[in-house]
Amino acid sequence: MLKNLLYSTQNFLRGLQDLTLFSARMVAAAFRPPIYWRDVYEQTYFAGVGSLPVVLISAFFAGQALALQFARQLAENGSTTLLGTLMTIAVVRALGPDLTGLVVASRLASGYTAEIGSMKSSYQIDALTAFGTDPVAKLAAPRLIGLVITLPILTFVGNAVMLVGGAIMAKYVAHTSLSLYWSQVRSAMVYGTVLIGTLKPLVFAFIITFVSCWKGFRSSGGTRGVGRATTESVVIASVLVLIFDFVLTRVVFAVLGW
């Protein structure tokens, strides 16, 4: 029992060390020539435009669901006029980055791991190395750059759509005026709220690409191994997104003295 626990801990620490070193290599490759701009463009397009429909749909309905909950609760206390403020805080600080991060993690982490893992199992990564190409610079760094650019943008768009969903609920369920709702949204959009809302997607972009590319490069055992790595990649990336959501909130609150 104790032996198993020690073995698992050792494996976990070894994996963590490997992930850390791999992530450092990815970041270095993203800033050091050669930068594969064509791949950066393709990955940015794939991550951004490809994820947009699913982010828009999720955000639209999640925003309305959240606003509906708030509207019912606020109506009981006769304070439905606060809906805009509550929506802004909940969406921009928490639900927006989390939902977008999780939706993008499930879509891209699986795609990245599966693609890189398949390339590894068919020796295409060895072939890249044999041609004198650094596979991390060619495959991982463009994905990192692409997601660091697109995830904050997707989050801003998702936030906006959620707030529009909230506006619909404000008008038709809470029966408050739209001008009041939007003026509250503007008032609640203070520096700290925007800071948290911007910082989170940036960190999530790093987490998603670090984990998914690392899992792809380290996958083994043929198609079955690639499948297992893909599942693990989505699970680890999603859990880390939620853990870092809490950590970042605590850190920003501490920094701002909230």
């Binding site: 068919s122 295409q124 060895d126 072939a127 041609f131 004198g132 190409t133 650094d134």
Partner: protein, 284 residues
């Protein structure tokens, strides 16, 4: 061999320091283990510049490991691997990258980049490392595809999975050749799983590369008839070590039991090869 390679200069010539003792590749007491299992133990041999050495042996004996050691994809625990006079494990990453660009590798399953077209695959190295215009890359890709007997007009824009396995293997050879006309070619089971006509075509390509361009090579295979046609020298791996090294005559006369057992299904081929080599004066 149908005209000269665009941007290339005919036969490969190595500087004296690139072939110490006349060998373009030297294994000096190499031991390699992974996961507590020793794959190669105290393996030593050389590959003379301009010659092709065939590495034979049962499956899983470490034949492909030798190629991976040459490329520096893995490092030996003991010993040295000298490629073009450089110790692969001890040079800087940049030097290793430069060295790899002088080595063409044909992987066991072709390992073509499946998201790129055939033309992009063949021109990959030129696009990645060269500073050539696209039309020049395309011209060279066409040349090398024609060189391996493929119809460039028809295949240039095709994706690898639209091709037969034999054609994929030929594209892989064209891709390896297009990388700055390599001084060394490594072939990992180049004919495994192919129909007899494709085996014949690929064998012919490897022989022509050796004879006309003097490309040093290593062919890893367990297909003896093919091995006997392409190789000058032969090496048999058994139980982690080099059990045999010599010419086709030595191969025919060898009394090593493991080698005799390995060659048994092919003994007619070995005898024929010995006679044909004897008649040609071992035709090097």
């Amino acid at each position: 061999m149908g005209g000269s390679a665009p941007g290339a200069s005919g036969a490969v010539r190595l500087a004296p320091e690139e072939a110490p003792g006349g060998n373009a590749i030297v294994f000096d007491g190499v031991t390699y283990a992974i996961g507590g299992r020793t794959i190669l133990e105290d393996v030593s041999f050389g590959v003379a510049a301009g010659c092709i050495k065939v590495i034979m042996g049962p499956s899983g004996i470490g034949k492909s490991t030798i190629l991976r050691l040459i490329l520096g994809l893995i490092r030996p625990q003991r010993g040295r691997v000298l490629v073009l006079g450089k110790d692969v494990a001890r040079i800087s990453g940049e030097e290793r990258s430069d060295l790899r660009q002088r080595i063409g590798m044909v992987f066991q399953n072709g390992a073509l980049f499946d998201s790129l077209t055939v033309g992009e695959n063949v021109g990959y190295s030129l696009l990645d490392h060269g500073h050539l215009r696209l039309d020049e890359v395309e011209r060279r890709a066409r040349y090398y595809l024609e060189l391996v007997g493929l119809d460039a007009d028809r295949l240039l824009d095709a994706l690898p999975d639209e091709l037969s396995v034999g054609m994929q293997r030929r594209v892989a050879i064209a891709r390896a050749l297009a990388s700055n006309q390599p001084a060394i070619m490594l072939y990992d089971e180049p004919t495994t799983g192919l129909d007899p006509a494709s085996v014949e075509t690929i064998t012919d390509i490897i022989v022509r590369l050796r004879q006309e361009m003097k490309v040093t090579g290593i062919v890893v295979t367990h297909e003896i008839p093919h091995a006997l046609k392409v190789g000058n020298r032969f090496l048999f791996l058994y139980d982690r070590r080099v059990a045999f090294e010599g010419s086709s005559e030595d191969l025919a006369e060898s009394t090593i039991p493991e080698l005799a057992e390995f060659l048994l299904p092919f003994k007619i081929s070995v005898a024929n090869a010995f006679h044909s080599f004897s008649a040609e004066g071992n035709g090097q």
